[in-house]
Point group: C2
Chain length 386, copies 2
């Protein structure tokens, strides 16, 4: 099988010409008679324009097929080929990337593995984010975790900007939280995953990830786009790092937000993550606090699930939108809330309870209208956020 890429050009661009520039310029390039002895090899590297469609608004969508032999079965070499130099050529956006099934990686843990580790199979998972993002002590984190884990939370994660700071070392935070996870396990039998933000420079990140896992991290969070797909690949490939990797979308807008430049969100947060080794991927939900298209969100969901990767619609998620999320996603979704849990008017524990009440009401087909809700955590959440 081969690699097929859809490029979009706005009206006014000679898409046919651009497609040829890509097919030649991003592969073998041109050659003259001096290389006639290598003609066959040179041709075997050329890409091919498969299709060009002019759309009703005058814009064009062209499909180009690249030979697999040009790349190294990973995301970095793929990006260099499909949009390396050409990204600087002017207007044009990568809308879809179709890869052979055996390209890149499948998740090591994925939907199935995350459910097995939690022993939760028949409902969406509830996930929280430590807030405030910076400025808490390790013990503050443990206190918060105790509250939300005690209320039934499945997963918690560091905020993506919480690194391994002098004033807040990751290992110290993990140690304090690990004691809470062990306590919850002992008292309730429940596993709670804590996705620890793995950071670091100068080739020490992988080593640190191994250390975190040895010290009890049962999940990792990675800012894939600021550290690079190479780092995701390295974590996923590592035999010692046998915990799910949660991919954070930080910086995705720098590549995806412009209408006619860069790459579609569904390519970066869908395809590249799903073939890059992520076990679960966070991305903006269209009902949330960031501008995001429902169709693009749907594409990401489907692309991730086809590879067994857990979709995690995020940003602005609160208990009031659970009916909409479940209508779009069904059970295989992680409901990820930051302030939507941590800033519940009563407490973070009430925030978690509100989500579980919401799940139960959806299951029973009950109304979310405030006046129909019994007193309790969900009603208080709806009063605040809906």
């Amino acid at each position: 099988m081969s690699i097929e890429i859809d490029y979009h050009f706005p009206a006014g661009v000679n898409a046919e010409k651009q497609a040829k520039i890509i097919a030649v310029g991003q592969t073998a390039g041109t050659w003259d008679a001096r290389f006639s002895h290598r003609e066959e090899a040179l041709k075997s590297h050329l890409a091919e324009v498969v299709k060009g469609i002019t759309q009703p608004d005058g814009s064009s969508l062209v499909t180009i097929r690249f030979p697999e032999i040009n790349v190294e079965n990973d995301i970095p070499s793929l990006l260099t080929m499909i949009f390396g130099k050409y990204s600087m050529a002017g207007v044009g956006k990568v809308m879809a990337v179709r890869l052979p099934d055996n390209y890149g990686r499948y998740p090591q843990v994925g939907i199935t593995g995350i459910r097995e580790r939690l022993n939760v199979f028949n409902r969406p998972l509830i996930m929280a984010i430590f807030k405030p993002a910076l400025g808490l002590s390790a013990e503050d984190h443990a206190t918060i975790l105790q509250e939300v884990a005690g209320a039934g939370l499945d997963i918690i994660k560091d905020d993506e900007i919480m690194g391994d700071l002098d004033v807040a070392p990751t290992l110290k935070r993990l140690a304090a939280c690990r004691r809470v996870l062990d306590k919850v396990k002992a008292e309730t039998g429940r596993n709670v995953l804590y996705a620890v933000n793995v950071t670091g420079s100068a080739d020490r990140l992988i080593e640190k990830a191994r250390l975190l896992v040895r010290e009890g991290a049962n999940a990792l969070l990675l800012n894939v786009l600021t550290y690079g797909f190479y780092v995701l690949d390295s974590l996923a490939a590592d035999g010692e790092i046998n915990v799910p990797i949660f991919a954070h979308p930080a910086f995705a807008g720098a590549i995806c937000a412009a209408p006619n430049y860069g790459m579609a969100y569904s390519v970066v947060l869908g395809t590249l993550m799903a073939y890059g080794g992520a076990d679960a991927v966070l991305y903006p939900a269209h009902y949330g606090s960031l501008p995001f298209e429902a169709t693009e969100e749907g594409r990401i969901r489907d692309i991730l699930r086809r590879r067994g990767v857990f979709p995690v619609p995020s940003a602005g998620i609160h208990p009031g939108i659970v009916p909409r999320v479940l209508a779009d996603y069904g059970n295989d979704v992680i409901l990820n809330a930051g302030t939507g849990i941590m800033e519940h008017p009563d407490s973070p524990a009430a925030g978690v309870k509100a989500f579980f009440e919401a799940l139960a009401r959806v299951k029973e087909g009950q109304s979310f209208a405030v006046d129909k809700l019994p007193d309790g955590a969900l009603r208080r959440a709806i009063e605040k956020w809906s």
Copy 2:
């Protein structure tokens, strides 16, 4: 010192509001009375809006100052903080990043080291790119190198899309070319640098880079933006990898090309590369084949030089534009030509000679008008390209 970032918002955006969202949302976030005991620590992480200017066209430029304690003295954590989640918030572009001098890295080799290794101190350097990009054998590469190195070339590099392919292994290419480099050294005493494209997945890239250096690679090429600044940092930090790292701009357009999204080219190819550990940085020249603004090119040049990093204006460089490049750059520039050398009407060797003729003519203040040029490589080049 602190970290200052300039964000640009088009007319119609409430820049003051957005600036506050960034200053809080990209740092500590919000908190309530429960965290009053941590008030001081929380506040120490907040960013501060320093300045906001409304420009004549109605657009705004706001400057935000971030605490250094929030990041890990590297590029990935910096990107997560200044534009991580916020990149997905809508329209807005990072126009400038000002870092403390001691942030990140200085180049290990840089302008001074590259000149020392070549023993060339008082003129621009001439660099070529192997073309065609894919489809040649290792011996083809050696033949080409013999030709251009024999003609006085200073540096050659792999095309950025030439990876370590089954049909063209990097080590084999290096071995064939290394023999040529040794021969040139023995015959002429001249060193020629060959920037070998370093690629690889699953945490093996650094190991491969070490192997390449052991096998005689005297420079490396890295697609920094597709592999990640983490990889650049890892290469620069490695004690065994004591060769200059040439940073390629592949994929930069995906982040930089849109007018109102992402980050300016001068941030990504200037500041981030200069503080990220690159020794020389390639970027489009405004007189070349890619659309690029002269002011942005000038910014990149100045930012790189301030850190001792070699500027390498590229893409569409041919001997006819040497006078313009030298007027803009003076001596400390690497003139990097692909087809501008390899597709010289006579031969690649003539392509190299044409560049040296051009340097000599500029030095003597002589005209580049075709009818003023003596017969020879430069005239033939000008006839083709000017």
